[in-house]
Symmetry: C2
Amino acid sequence: MTRLITTIAEMRDIRASLTGRVGLVPTMGSLHDGHLTLMRRAREQSDVLIVSDFVNPLQFGPNEDYDRYPRDLDGDLAKVDGLADYLFAPSAEEMYPAEEPFQVDVGRIGTVFEGAMRPGHFNGVATVVLKLFTIIRPDIAVFGQKDAQQLAVIRRLVRDFNVPVDIIPAPISREGSGLARSSRNAYLDEDGRWHALALSGLLKDLSGRRMPAPELLHALEQARATSSTDVQWDYAEAVDPATFEPIDSSFTGDAVVIVAARVQGVRLLDNAEITVGT
Amino acid sequence: MTRLITTIAEMRDIRASLTGRVGLVPTMGSLHDGHLTLMRRAREQSDVLIVSDFVNPLQFGPNEDYDRYPRDLDGDLAKVDGLADYLFAPSAEEMYPAEEPFQVDVGRIGTVFEGAMRPGHFNGVATVVLKLFTIIRPDIAVFGQKDAQQLAVIRRLVRDFNVPVDIIPAPISREGSGLARSSRNAYLDEDGRWHALALSGLLKDLSGRRMPAPELLHALEQARATSSTDVQWDYAEAVDPATFEPIDSSFTGDAVVIVAARVQGVRLLDNAEITVGT
């Protein structure tokens, strides 16, 4: 039986009694198969698994509907049964008792790509994750590689604030076609799913290869310019994994190709690692 | 013998081996009697005392001379001998290996009073203190009440990020005259010291009393308006201890009276707690 914890004080008491490696999977609840995959990944590397279930108001913009974000604590508890030892589900008042709490300022990485679309979002993410790390003191924490920019923010968070947590990326889950799994895929019809393969198709052509920067930059430019009008690119770029600054033609080393596009009005994200060099 | 520690890895290893209550006194080095008072206060409440000795570049503004801030590690080691068990003195590269590190954003409290004079200062203070708390995991940490706004920032830091550290204020040390001790007092001549008593004199009249807000606000206005032209007030205000917002005439509860003034070109600070109510 998964034990439900709703207060920070109880979470701390229980943490103090735990031995062995403690794993954390932070979630905003409304759990689905993707979350369960993260949990299985965490279980492989930990003796005790804690799942946090908290809809973080700080990471919602004024035009994003925090109040209407789905919440289903009973359903979540049922889903993690047998997989997580503890479900930490504090209220917003428990996590943010004061007005205008101090926040982590992630600087420039919070203002580009997904951060440009959602001002303040990554500051809110970094703030709540730092709080969870301070309260729960996990040895490892698992984050999906699908949200590559979030993963980069979390890696810098633990580095810059010296938080002793190993950040474990969980690989992107894909359908047989290559399409990255997302609950939003349900909004695509058959034609849309076919067009959506432009994202994973581009990444499949590039990933795992070693390619000079000019060749990579040219390939991305071509992809953006020549794809079907049914695919509206927000971006398709190669970026530095730590800063999310676009690479230039003299770049060598590990990069991430990040892509975002709208297909049938549905916003799709994908990414892959690539080694840039001659 | 105080043991010198210069790397975060060694500090963590040693911390993991410590038992009992661990106390921390964060300093920027160039230790003087005021620091030793903070250390004695920390010793009273801890079994092991760690003093950090780090000139934090993040809390210096572009026009403040970080490079010329005095450093005297050998002198500091000699001074803490017999008082501190460990002196943690990492390099700037050890604490900030990356460019543009994530920082704590303290919000509005960082922009008023001392924060207005030093934009970004309190963000830098909060960032380094959070890092020290994460690395050292002290049970208690001592900060001087003299820097009231810094103390307020640190108290909110541990509250907002759920850091399990007890923040212990050390009372303001005063000369027989009442003048708050400061290394800057050495720049005052006899006449200047006499005028400087305007600060502590005002606080002495107010502190420990229970006074309605309108009466307190009137007293502060009078003090600013009627004092000698040899005392140039930056501010003399009653503020909320958590937010440092000036109280209004309907305020009740605990407040802090904060004063800053220039006497003979020397900037002096002082403060006192007061209960506001009918």
